[in-house]
């Protein structure tokens, strides 16, 4: 007798995704939904949808959803979690939402150690608006607003978000993953699940950065886009865990912060 070993998670609605063919948003949505199923938290989760391609995430996730102003998802998520401390709150954001207009909200929610989980889709471009330069676009990358390639003299340098956030005491888990192969998808799923578990265990702020593709605006097929991502993005945005306070032996961010402060006070390195 054969049995089902893989099927659509319950925490997704039946609505077909509006994403482009081959867009990795869909994979990550599924991983978040699988996490909600496995932890049994769909009924207590409130998700925050950004502005960007995933603005319609409120139609795709089965949990209660709030659509937030561009860049402000971490502030909305902060208030949701403060209002509903026994619920699970996540915000799902793209590179414009999180690292451009929303950079202040991103940094401050992180440094406050808000017990929220951020799923950050980094595809080095602004998809929804037709392919413009993102804070995470690579040097020399051609976009609609860098038609001759990103010129670091004019447009500056791309920002490595998880490395930057990992310097903040409020961050419990900051990890970068990708979804280009089944193996990496499974690892991304484990990271996302860990991030939610850390929230439930009141450890601190968690962020999983998913290096992703935008086949449409990169002008590549879905498969070629994954290859471009491997060749160009992963060297600049290395996969890995950039901060994990539990792995360092602390129960939560307050403990980790205290230890760090003591070390600094006694003349050690942070």
């Amino acid at each position: 007798m054969s049995k089902v070993v893989f099927e659509r998670p319950d925490s997704l609605t039946d609505t077909p995704f509006s994403y482009c063919p081959g867009c990795t948003h869909g994979i990550v949505h599924r991983l978040v939904a699988e996490t909600m199923d496995e932890l049994g938290i769909e009924g207590t989760t409130v998700g925050v949808a950004p502005v960007g391609c995933s603005v319609l995430a409120y139609e795709f996730f089965g949990c209660d959803m709030v659509q937030a102003a561009h860049g402000r998802a971490p502030a909305v998520a902060t208030a949701l979690k403060r209002a509903l401390p026994d619920n699970v709150v996540f915000a799902y954001q793209g590179d414009g939402d999180l690292a451009s207009i929303g950079m202040a909200e991103t940094v401050h929610a992180a440094t406050r150690g808000e017990r929220i989980t951020i799923v950050f889709i980094n595809n080095a471009i602004y998809g929804m608006t037709g392919g413009q330069l993102a804070p995470t676009s690579l040097p020399k990358q051609v976009t609609q607003t860098s038609p001759f390639g990103r010129d670091v003299d004019n447009d500056g340098f791309p920002v490595r978000v998880v490395e930057m956030l990992a310097t903040l005491d409020g961050v419990a888990l900051a990890q970068r993953v990708t979804v280009d192969t089944p193996k990496n998808v499974r690892a991304a799923k484990r990271a996302i699940k860990k991030a939610f578990e850390y929230q439930i265990d009141d450890v601190g702020y968690t962020i999983i950065e998913v290096v992703s593709t935008c086949p449409t605006n990169w002008g590549l097929s879905p498969s070629d886009a994954l290859q471009w991502m491997r060749d160009n993005m992963l060297p600049y945005y290395p996969l890995g865990v950039y901060k994990d306070v539990k792995a360092e032996g602390y129960a939560n961010v307050a403990e980790a912060a205290e230890a760090r402060a003591e070390k600094l006070a006694s003349g050690g390195d942070a």
Binding site: M65, V66, A75, V76, A79, L80, R82, A83, A104
Partner: protein, 357 residues
Amino acid sequence: MTEKVLMKGNEALAEAAIRAGCRFFFGYPITPQTELAAYMAKRMGKAGGVYLQAESEIAAINMVYGASAAGKRAMTSSSSPGISLKGEGISYMAGADLPGVIINVQRGGPGLGGIQPSQSDYFQATRAIGHGDFHIIVLAPSTVQEMTDYVYRAFDLADEYRTPVMILADGMLGQMMEPVVLPEPKTEFPAKPWAVTGHKGERPHNIVNSLFLAPERLEETNIERYERYDRIKATEQLAEEYLVEDAEIVVVSFGASSRIVRSAVNKARENGLKVGLIRPITLWPFPTDIISAAADHAKAILTVEMNMGQMVDDVRLAVCGRVPVEFFGRTGGIIPTPAETLAAIERLSASLEGGAR
């Protein structure tokens, strides 16, 4: 039992909000309202609520959006430049039909302006608080007691009509100290079945959202919202009438400047001029009916405002050309004196054929 205490305006706003059931305050320091945030920082935790100094006024209004989405009574406060920052967030609240209270303790503008009181955000509050077709209820207190009463009422109005409500105060009201009777703490609140609280498998998921890509649907939401606004206009207009019945000149003034006008009106009456004061309390919905009725018997109307002439436009709309409507004001942080206000009334009176005796 109600207590009577001497309180500073900013602090009375905070205390009354807590008594109205507000348990979530998100703010940012800006003169002249910072005492409100400082009071909340001390008091909110003891009331079992959350006080958070946000990273900016933008973050603060988006936190109000989030707490409100979760069904909680939430508030933010700022002053003029900070209110400008909140514009998008307030539009989102209106578009998502979320209740919430926003306090503007006005200061001189535009730009960084000054830190002294003004009323120069009237247009912003009543016409242009954020993009799109929408209104917010705007209440204009003129005493510390009214600051208390109206912020307390603001939360009920916000919940009843699912709209943001603004208390349009100013630096003078925020800083002054007056005796106040504080309201009883509220214990019962309306249910909010639309709030995002986690569906627990017991209901369909709730979505708080202002995006409606299908034009017909977006128009529908706008029309429904304006039907609510019509109900608000029909039931919530509020203004005080002082010596208006036989007045030949009616002065229209709100908030801090109305206090000056009251003195000037009293002096004018002593001098034999038949002058009265209409003091709008709801700036939106504007008390059109009351002002229009006054135009039936008055010979002229004068608005006195701490700006370059803003509410005068709404008075002209209500009067519809039936009688002359003039404006007198000071701005930049200057509060008009009773003497110069009286002089403006007397100038208007002298300019009328037959005077106002």
